[in-house]
Each structure stands twice: as structure tokens, then as C-alpha cells.
């Protein structure tokens, strides 16, 4: 409970700063409009105007909230104006990519811990692959897939799979190697086979590492999907919402898409955290 008060204070401060900034940044437009109409605004009118513009430089918090409410609850969820619809498009590609990426990471990690050749040849390149800003390749991946007739969910999922694969690989390799020599020797003294040692010792002891990586990976997968939606002229998904908002100067639309994406990321991370707690409790590892 000792956290609630400080967090609330900081959030209140952020909202206050946001309002002040909104007034400051939108004032120029309001003044220009008034000058064009040959009227002068009182301070009160000026503030009221800055907080209710159609296309503000910085929309005020209540405008974003109204935009969010309209997008989430004000439309039919199948409508193209509904944020639920766009969020679902993004979420489905994210989940598909996350599943592919984390499975690939786990499989490769198992191979790396069991084969010296794979460890020495694959691992350095897996590390090097991360210096390629994959998001730069996003437009190309999408164009390539489109040219062979694959569009929609799969190309975006490939990008998020690539992004979520590496954290899982690194975490899982670390996790599978946590059992120390003593424990491995104990398994050997029970004449356990390699697969028994894997299922009964290595895999369980890697779980805390796996979940820590999965949380990072799911957030990365969402970023991958959103960026994958940006450049290829996609018309649905939160990334496309951001892009069309930026084309037409619809700032409220950008901000509501941004907040939906943030909520989605937070929700996914919390979901993984919940599964983690459940699993660790059943394994008797809960703190």
C-alpha cells in the first residue's frame, strides 16, 4: 500500500503538466484563429479554446479519454472506426508471432544446450542478428510476402516472431544451464538418461528464466506487429491507425491508438505474469 500514494501523486503531476503543456502548445493556433476573426480572447476563453480544438497540437487528457471511449465503446466492434477492431487485428498477429518466436527460441535453446556444435556456430550469429534493426526490414518482409501472394496476418507475425525469438533464446539457454554440476552429477548417479535429466531437472529449473524472457518477448512482439503495419499501406491495425492519423493530422486518433497499444502491452505482460505465478505455485517455487 505504501506505493499507492506516491504513484498516484506522480500520475496527478503528469496529468497536470499535460494540461499546462496542452494550453501552451495549442495557444498559438487559438490566437491565430481569433486574430483572423478580429476578436480578442480573454484568458478564460483562450484556455477553453485550447482544450477543445478539433486538431490540437497536443490534445488534452479529457479529449484523449473521449476519443478512447468513442473508439472502444461508441462504435460497433466490427466497424472500421472501432479501436476494438483494430486492436484485435494487431493482437492476433502479435499472438501468432509471439507463439512462433518463443517456440523457435525454446527449441533452439534446447539444441544449443545439448549440442556443442550448435552452441559454437549458432549462438554468435543469434547475438549478431540482434544488431540488425529488424524493424528496418519490416517493410521489405511485407513487400516480399505480398509479392508471393501472402498478405494479412502472416507477414506481420513473422516480424514479431523475429523480435520475440531472441529474448526467449537467451533466457532459455541461461535457464537450461542453471542446474549446477552437483545436481547434474546427482542425476548421473541415479543413471538418468539425457532426456530424463532434461525433463526432470533442466526444464523445471529454467522456468523462472523463461517467464522473465517471455514478458520481454511479448512486449517486443507487439512493437514488431505495430511497426509491421506501418509502411506497407495496411488499412487495419493500430499501426495503420497511427499512420493514417499522422497523414490527416488527426492527433486525437493518434493518441487514442497509442493508449490502446499501451493498454494492450500492459495487459499481455500482466497475463504472462499471471501464468508465471500459477505455474511457479504449482511447481512449489512461488516466493
Amino acid at each position: 500500500m505504501s506505493r499507492v500514494l506516491p504513484v498516484l501523486t506522480v500520475i496527478a503531476a503528469i496529468i497536470l503538466v499535460w494540461y499546462v503543456a496542452a494550453i501552451g502548445m495549442n495557444a498559438q493556433w487559438a490566437k491565430d484563429q481569433a486574430a483572423r476573426a478580429d476578436t480578442t480572447l480573454t484568458t478564460g476563453e483562450l484556455i477553453a479554446d485550447t482544450l477543445s480544438q478539433d486538431r490540437p497540437v497536443l490534445p488534452a487528457p479529457h479529449q484523449v479519454a473521449a476519443g478512447l471511449w468513442d473508439g472502444l465503446a461508441g462504435q460497433k466492434i466490427t466497424s472500421r472506426r472501432s479501436l476494438v477492431y483494430h486492436a484485435w487485428i494487431t493482437l492476433s498477429a502479435t499472438m501468432a508471432g509471439f507463439a512462433i518466436g518463443s517456440l523457435a527460441g525454446i527449441v533452439l535453446a534446447v539444441g544449443i544446450t545439448h549440442s556443442k556444435v550448435m552452441d559454437q556456430s549458432v549462438m554468435p550469429w543469434a547475438v549478431a542478428s540482434q544488431t540488425v534493426p529488424i524493424l528496418a526490414i519490416a517493410p521489405m518482409v511485407i513487400v516480399v510476402f505480398a509479392s508471393v501472394g501472402v498478405t494479412g496476418l502472416l507477414p506481420k507475425a513473422m516480424i514479431s516472431a523475429w523480435l520475440s525469438f531472441f529474448p526467449v533464446l537467451v533466457g532459455m539457454v541461461k535457464g537450461l544451464r542453471t542446474p549446477d554440476a552437483m545436481q547434474l552429477d546427482l542425476m548421473r548417479s541415479w543413471s538418468a538418461t539425457r532426456s530424463q535429466a532434461f525433463w526432470r531437472l533442466r526444464l523445471p529449473s529454467s522456468m523462472p528464466f523463461l517467464f522473465a524472457s517471455l514478458k520481454i518477448a511479448v512486449a517486443a512482439a507487439l512493437v514488431g506487429t505495430i511497426v509491421g503495419e506501418l509502411p506497407a499501406g495496411a488499412t487495419s491495425g493500430l499501426g495503420a491507425r497511427l499512420l493514417s492519423g499522422s497523414y490527416y493530422g488527426q492527433t486525437v486518433q493518434i493518441w487514442s491508438a497509442l493508449f490502446t497499444a499501451a493498454a494492450l502491452a500492459a495487459g499481455l505482460v500482466m497475463l504472462i505474469g499471471w501464468i508465471e505465478r500459477m505455474t511457479l505455485r504449482r511447481m512449489g517455487l512461488a516466493k
Partner: protein, 277 residues
């Protein structure tokens, strides 16, 4: 039949690696990694040639290299615009701001309890999404890209730096107190050095983030140069070898950037257990 030489190359390279891996020295480790990388390049080239894959789908490494050599001046201009001006400026500014904020937060337990959960939360959000807003505010040139990078690198560095400043234990702090060291003395001589491994962890994570932020922000509007601009226009003209050449530049720049930070880390935190041989 065209698949036979490809499989033969793959199997022989794998066999060579399997044989080399048994020695497990520094040299063979390097060799194994190099052979693996070279094998992928050779297989890639062979597959593209043997099956006549159109360069629109996947250009061969030789075509990419030719495009790289033919367009060095364009690539250099893009490199300066995106990496040096956008990514690097933003990264330095973001890192300095994060370190300063961390020291401020560190003085106030109230702020620490209030700001840290929010910073942790923000660090996990898709911050790239703010790119259209910042491009709208700061214009199309590199300033808006640097602004995106500042916001993207700020929170990971902040979270790491705050953890680093808290890394000293009570015994060490008491020792400083018995020497009657003031706040600034103990900050400068004890807690800053102790925070360095954490700080560099954050700095290393954010090197790739900086590149990504600068490139992605260019999709929302840029002058007629820059890597993001070039990638999106070259894709439009189906000039895939040029796109891959840009990716090659990004990969080299990313590795160098990471490598330089890691090298500085080695110099600064030579005392840390993780640096021991």
C-alpha cells in the same frame, strides 16, 4: 538434381564444424562461427542461383554487395543523416537526461516509490508509437528522430541507473560515513562507480533501440535522405538489393555501436566480476 550440391556443401560444412568443435579453443570457436556464417552466405547464393529466385523476392549476396559498392555515396549520406545525426544525438541526450533524473530520484524515496513503477511500465510500452506525434512537433528533419530516440532510450537507462545507485550495501555506506564523506563525495567515489555495470547494461540495450527509433521515425516523414526514407522508397521501386545494402549498413553500424559501448564498459568496469578472465 539442383539440390544435390547445396546439400553436399551444407553437410560438409556441418561435418567440418562438428570436427572443429571438439577442440574447443578460442581459435576453433572463432572458426566455427565464421564457417557457419560463410556457409549460410554460400547456401543463400547457391539457392538463389540454382532456382532462379527473382531478386524482387530475395537478392543474392553478390547482388547486394554490388549494390552496396555502387551506392556508397548514397549510403554514406543516409548513414550520416540517420545514425550520426538522429540516433547518436538522441542516444547521448537521452542517456544524460536519464542519468541526471536517476540521481534526482535517488535523493527522494517518495519519488522513487512513485516514479519507478511508472518508469518500469513505460519501458515495456510500444514507445515507437509516439514517432508520428514527435515528427509533427519537431518537423521532418533529424531533430524529430533524435527526439523519438531520446524518449525510447530514456526509461531503460533510468530504470537501470536507479537500480545501480541502490547497488551498494549498508556496510559500504557505513564505511563511507565513518570516513565522514559527504553526500557528493560518497556519490562520486562510491555509488557512481558501483552503478557503472548497471548503467552500461542499460546503455548496451538501448544501442539497438536508438537505431530502430531513428529508422522507424523516418517512415512518418523525412527529408529526401536517411535510411528509413531510402528503405521505403527503394521498396516502392522494387530495388531490393539497395534495401539489403541499407540493412547491411544498419547491421554494421549496430554492431560497431554495440561494440564500442562494450569496449568502453570493459575499460570503466574492469573491476567487475563479469569482466574477469
Amino acid at each position: 538434381m539442383t539440390a544435390l550440391p547445396i546439400i553436399a556443401v551444407w553437410l560438409s560444412a556441418w561435418g567440418l564444424n562438428a570436427w572443429l568443435a571438439r577442440f574447443d579453443t578460442r581459435l576453433t570457436r572463432l572458426l566455427v562461427a565464421l564457417i557457419f556464417g560463410a556457409t549460410i552466405l554460400i547456401l543463400w547464393e547457391m539457392i538463389v542461383r540454382a532456382y532462379g529466385v527473382p531478386s524482387v523476392i530475395l537478392p543474392a549476396p553478390s547482388q547486394i554487395w554490388a549494390s552496396f559498392m555502387a551506392n556508397t555515396s548514397i549510403l554514406w549520406v543516409d548513414f550520416v543523416q540517420t545514425i550520426l545525426k538522429g540516433a547518436l544525438t538522441g542516444w547521448v541526450m537521452g542517456a544524460l537526461a536519464a542519468i541526471a533524473t536517476a540521481i534526482l530520484i535517488d535523493r527522494s524515496p517518495f519519488l522513487q516509490r512513485g516514479l519507478l513503477p511508472i518508469a518500469n511500465f513505460v519501458a515495456a510500452l510500444p514507445i515507437v508509437g509516439i514517432a508520428p506525434i514527435l515528427v509533427m512537433w519537431f518537423g521532418f528533419d533529424w531533430q524529430s528522430k533524435a527526439a523519438v530516440v531520446v524518449v525510447m532510450v530514456f526509461f531503460p537507462i533510468l530504470v537501470n541507473m536507479v537500480a545501480g545507485l541502490a547497488a551498494t550495501d549498508a556496510m559500504q555506506r557505513d564505511l563511507m560515513a565513518t570516513w565522514s564523506a559527504g553526500y557528493w563525495q560518497s556519490l562520486w567515489k562510491m555509488r557512481m562507480p558501483a552503478a557503472m555495470p548497471f548503467l552500461f547494461n542499460g546503455l548496451k540495450i538501448t544501442t539497438t533501440l536508438a537505431l530502430i527509433g531513428a529508422i522507424v521515425a523516418e517512415f512518418f516523414g523525412s527529408p529526401t535522405r536517411g535510411m528509413g526514407f531510402r528503405i521505403s522508397t527503394a521498396v516502392g521501386q522494387l530495388d531490393l538489393p539497395l534495401v539489403w545494402a541499407e540493412i547491411l549498413v544498419a547491421a554494421i553500424a549496430g554492431s560497431l555501436f554495440y561494440g564500442i559501448v562494450a569496449l568502453i564498459e570493459k575499460r570503466v568496469t574492469f573491476w567487475h566480476p563479469s569482466q574477469r578472465k
